[in-house]
Amino acid sequence: MDELPIQSGDDVVRVRQRVRVLAAESGLSLVDQTKVVTAASELARNALVHGGGGLARVEVVRSGNGKSGVKIGFSDEGPGIPDLDLALTDGWTTGDGMGLGLSGARRLVDEFELTSKVGGGTSVVVVKWSR
């Protein structure tokens, strides 16, 4: 598993590049690679902007039925999200975006797990499987 820091805009780019390499290795189509890299970009930026920086863990995974995929976990020690349902609504924003980051990222991947505690940081784990 690769662990990458998310402390700057350059780090967000590095996370994207690493996800791209592992997504290609796990046999995702070009469109699916683009989707998961885009989702990773949204989530890495969230960790940076809203979480005050964090970590990304990227790995190739295999399912029980032989499919491969790429799994990315994002974690930060930021203020956390008070209302997860609201945060996953299209158009919900803290004011500086269009509110498509979280909800859009969820649409672009196959598995999406968001956990957050007010004052205790946020963690998002996503998986995109090859077809």
Binding site: G9, D10, V13, Q17, L30, Q33, T38, G97, G101, G104
Partner: protein, 117 residues
Amino acid sequence: MERVPIVKIGQTLFVSIQIDLQDESVLRLQEDLADELSKTGAHGVIIDITAVEIVDSFIGRMLTMIGSISRLFDAETVIVGMRPAVAITLTELGLSLRGVRTALNADKGLEMLNGRT
């Protein structure tokens, strides 16, 4: 941070994005373009994203804003060269790039701008 160069040809500013865009570079491009538009009085902006592998919500929002800013300088923006995978992903993400025009390539983008009266 890398900067995206802007080239003026005739009445048009050409921008070809050849780097892996980080947020600061996009913000800088927005400022540089506004400066160039005010200095040159160009009437069109063509942004070539052929080499751009992903457009996420931030980059998409910035492209839309560049379109709005250009309009304030009486210039029209055309985004050209979007990859098919990027188009599919943008749509699924829920981004429509409202307010900017798109064309298949720089040639067609230029035709679009020149057809403006």
